[in-house]
Amino acid sequence: MDWLTILVFSPLIGILILSIQQAEQKVTISLTGILATVLPLLLSLVVYAQFHGGGDLAISHQWISFGNGIFQIDYELGVDGFSLLLLLLTTIVSTLSASVAAAQIKQGLKAYFLWFLILEIGMLGVFTAENLILFFIFFEITLVPMFFLIGRWGFVEREKAAYSFLIYNGLGSAVLLILFAAIFAKTGTTNIEELKTIMGSGNAVSEEFRFGSLLALLIAFGVKLPIVPLHTWMVRVHVHAPIAVVMIHAGILLKIGAYGLINFGIGIFGDQFVKVAPFIAVLGLINLLYGAFLAFVQNELKSVFAYSSVSHMGIVLLGVAAMNEAGIQGAIFQTLSHGLIAALLFLLVGVIYERTHTTKLRSLGGLAKGMPLAAGFLLAAGLASLGLPGMSGFVSEFMAFLGLFESMPWLAAIGTIGIIMTAVYILRAVLGVTYGKTVKSFAGMYDLTRREMIPAAALLALIVLIGVYPNFITHTLQYALESIMLGIGG
């Protein structure tokens, strides 16, 4: 069975069913929307169950071909451990986000879910595509729905946010397209596995070309990740997009940057990556500290968490730049862990916003009194975010720094300031909202409903699971990691 194709295009079923429903029937629509995301979730579990190290799930069909096979692009899907985990993350966060959206999106629910499901196809495709052209197509598919989801259902400055999202990511993907075309022209293939062997052999393509390609990749995925100073669009999106979309965005879309950087940057251009590693480490350090210090002075809960995302992505860069197993595994863990934590944080921000209609730190305070459960979850999420052991954040930070201390101890030592700062700004924000005197009492305050509690608890359970027993994931990752390490000759 071609499970991957079925998985990637499974949201289409939901799209078809939704499109014949009437826009007024909110209950049926939200039910269909949620169920349409449950289907990929189940399928991804099937894929997970069938996964035995990689190759057996890969598929390949002839797709575009002319000029007697000189110009041939195949339809190739496949997963390794890393992308499989990201697939699971995607389906899980999508389902949770859909359930949040069903509660919080007040108008145009049908259109929302239609865009949302298209977005999910794009995300699933990005993580399964086995050649560059297919990857690019799915990458573009994620952009358009996001533009509309932000622009139509967001907060005050939603249109500005949507445009800056589109401009930045459009530029990034333009760079990507040119790069992919150049690679195709030089090597005659876009298959990632073939490229790994071609580029790895060292003499097929000139070194300058490989170096330039890596820089282009860095820019393209640097926008997505985002790397300072390309991050402002992302902060804007986090502040102005609807909460459910931010969950997806912070949880998954940012991870495409990390995925691309690890899978293509190291996977294909490993030997060149070694050269730029110190540079990337410095960038990562800047991300980590810059995000942390800025998060410390934000006056708004969502921008605190937005800058916290910038900061946490810095750890991904640091881990990648370490160029050893511990560092890269740390980066991968951080990718997954931040996906879960960011989704949880924004879920809770959404809950708070629904009750209080504000996310200004100044007008929030003492919420633990009115909504102890929500406050407890927020505290737990905050602690996870600042890298408390027993939660997923610690494992990834530890590994990233473990790796970095081996290759660049001084940078790593400076980077640890970031860990302290993370504690400072997270506690400032979280305690400011939940602890202390009640600044304003809001009418109709109520604690988490069951519908909000289940997603929050599910996310927290996953975070704790990874934190308590990380080897749970490492087995799946093993093969992917080995092939990546092969690329850098380690």
């Binding site: 210090f293 003492g366 602890y435 490492t474």
Partner: protein, 621 residues
């Protein structure tokens, strides 16, 4: 039994989980859950202790995190030190659980309180049986969280919020030191298992300079956790938490974790004389520094908090002076008598509803149990002969004397003198003289509170006898006995050291008696004669303010600099990018004038440039 020691921490964890989920329904019954599970842990700990004594050390491990060829493991190890710590922690925790039942009986969030206590106890118990540094670090942070949650238990108070935040961040600064030290050690040794670390250090496979750096970094972690100078400021503030918590976490167990850490890694420290000096000097300085502050504070819990800081400094000094047994011994006795003092103070606060000692007085007659047990605690901590504190303090002074650190020895004596003064200042002001309380009728606490105090009082008197120069050094022999890494030399000290220690203690008590009981000396002697010194000490040497003006404002300044960059550099770049995109767009739309000639011109010029480029590059792009 030893390989199943991992069960011990699990019971408090179970209590935490159960209370988090079902606490609301159970209400008052929560306390029984907490007490029950901790009790089981205590019983198991005692069994483990005796098993260890009978059969020697042991443990078990399993893989936790695999990174390629590197494997981090998780497990338990029971050696004399760990077994001793297990018993201390579970015992104090058990007693505090019982005590809290009375102390917190009218609090509506009792379930939350007990669940947090469970979480803390779990982390602390797991900490002390860690077989490797990583696991120790993990629980090291978790006890920090337990402490953080409990300090911020009264979350609606701004002071509690600030104190919790400060406690977490200050200890985290220390933790980062530990983290860096740990990682550096890992890349030197290739493992974080204690045994392998010790073997590598003994074989000299780590360069000495690096080892010193690692030891000092690890010590920074201990400094943060144990409230040593200069990271001590969080500990007095942590008194915002409920008093049983102060007794458990901020007196007996968690703060002692720093000492435990240094003790556990003693072979690493011992290999680096420089690091040992750092430990000893920091400890000695903190001991006297905190003691002076304790002399003038007016809040009963804060006096005890500074006393704790001072006593922890004492332990550090002992360890730094190679007095491994002395440090651990004092850790144990201190756990008992300081927990006792805090619980007694809690009992007093419970009765008079204030923490200001100037508003207390004459309680001796009204509180027939609290008064005497407080006196026992005070005598023990002051080092009055025959009480437990006397023996452990004596051991420390001996260790410093034999290590040749005479300056520290004198520092220790002075600190002991101050300790006696402030403890008896506290005692006389609270229990002697006229009642200065207003309002409510003072009554003795319920039995759930007094029984734990009595238990601790007994321990505070007698726990010293397991390691004395007269009846044998049982503790020392056992602690060092079967370890291949720990040196043991018991010093049959000159008798005058012991005499000097007793003398100093009695002198301090006498002075306090004269000032605060007999009023023979002016109370405001210090205030009037040395106003500047008094202000300095009363304001804790302005350390808080110093931090506020340097670090806090520094961080703020950096942050504002960052947001300045964000606003005026990054955003300008962004505006430039959007501006370019926009102007290209408007240029494009201006080209769409509808005039065919313009279209043709653009198309042709483009073509010309392309053709030019093709020819220029010789037909290849």
């Amino acid at each position: 039994m030893l390989e199943n020691a991992w069960l011990i921490p699990l019971f408090p964890l179970l209590s935490f989980i159960l209370l988090i989920f079902f606490g609301k329904q159970w209400r008052e019954k929560c306390s029984y859950v907490g007490i029950g599970f901790t009790g089981i842990s205590f019983v198991l700990s005692v069994i483990v202790l005796f098993t260890q004594m009978a059969n020697g050390s042991g443990g078990a491990e399993a893989a936790w995190l695999t990174i390629g060829s590197i494997e981090f493991r998780f497990g338990v190890i029971v050696n004399p030190l760990n077994a001793l710590m297990l018993v201390i922690v579970s015992l104090v925790s058990f007693l505090v659980h019982i005590y809290s039942k009375g102390y917190m009986h009218d609090d509506t969030r009792m379930a939350t309180f007990y669940s947090y206590l469970g979480l803390f106890t779990f982390a602390m118990l797991a900490l002390v049986i860690s077989p490797n540094l990583l696991q120790l670090y993990i629980f090291w942070e978790l006890v920090g969280v337990g402490s953080f949650l409990l300090i911020g238990f009264y979350f609606y108070k701004e002071e509690a919020k600030a104190a919790a935040k400060r406690a977490f961040i200050m200890t985290r600064i220390g933790d980062i030191g530990l983290l860096i030290g740990m990682i550096l050690l890992f890349w030197q040794v290739g493992s974080l298992e204690f045994n392998e670390i010790f073997t590598a250090v003994r074989d000299g496979s780590v360069a000495e300079g690096l080892l010193t750096l690692i030891a000092i970094l690890i010590f920074i972690g201990a400094v943060g956790k144990s409230g040593q100078f200069p990271l001590h400021t969080w500990l007095p503030d942590a008194m915002e938490g409920p008093t049983p918590v102060s007794a458990l976490i901020h007196a007996a167990t968690m703060v002692a974790a720093g000492v435990y850490l240094v003790a556990t890694l003693f072979p690493v420290f011992e290999a680096s004389p420089a690091a040992m000096t750092v430990v000893a000097v920091t400890g000695g300085f903190t001991a006297i520094f905190a003691a002076t502050i304790g002399l003038v504070q007016k809040d009963i819990k804060r006096v005890l908090a500074y006393s704790t800081v001072s006593q922890l400094g004492y332990m550090m000094m002992a360890l730094g002076a190679a007095g491994y047994v002395a440090g651990v011994f004092h850790l144990m006795t201190h756990a008992f008598f300081k927990a006792l003092l805090f619980l007694a103070a809690g009992s007093v606060i419970h009765a008079v509803h204030t923490q200001n000692i100037e508003k207390m007085g004459g309680l001796w007659k009204k509180m027939h149990i609290t008064g005497p047990v407080f006196l026992i605690g005070a005598l023990a901590i002051s080092g009055v002969p025959l009480f437990s504190g006397f023996f452990s303090k004596d051991e420390i002074l001996l260790a410093t004397w034999y290590d040749g650190r005479y300056g520290l020895f004198i520092l220790g004596l002075i600190a002991a003198f101050f300790t006696a003064i402030y403890m008896f200042r506290l005692f006389f002001m609270v229990f002697a003289g006229e009642s200065r309380t207003t309002g409510t009728k003072v009554h003795e606490s319920p039995r759930s509170m007094t029984y734990p105090m009595i238990t601790l009082a007994i321990l505070a008197i007698f726990s010293g006898y397991i390691n004395t120069p007269w009846f044998g050094t049982f503790l020392g022999d056992w602690l060092v006995g079967d370890s291949e890494f720990l040196p043991f030399e018991h010093h049959e000290g000159p008798i005058w050291v012991m005499l000097a220690a007793s003398l100093v203690a009695f002198a301090g008590i006498g002075l306090a008696y004269l000032i605060y009981y007999k009023k023979a000396l002016q109370r405001d002697f210090l205030t009037s004669h040395m106003p500047n010194t008094y202000t300095l000490v009363f304001n804790k040497y302005f350390i808080d303010e110093f931090y506020q003006y340097t670090i806090e404002y520094g961080v703020r300044a950096v942050s504002y600099l960052g947001s300045f960059i964000e606003k005026y550099i990054v955003e300008v770049i962004v505006a430039a990018v959007t501006g370019v995109v926009k102007s290209v767009g408007s240029l494009g739309s201006r080209l769409q004038s509808g005039q065919v000639q313009t279209y043709g011109a653009v198309a042709f010029v483009g073509l010309a440039i392309l053709v030019f480029l093709v020819v220029w590059t010789g037909g290849y792009l």
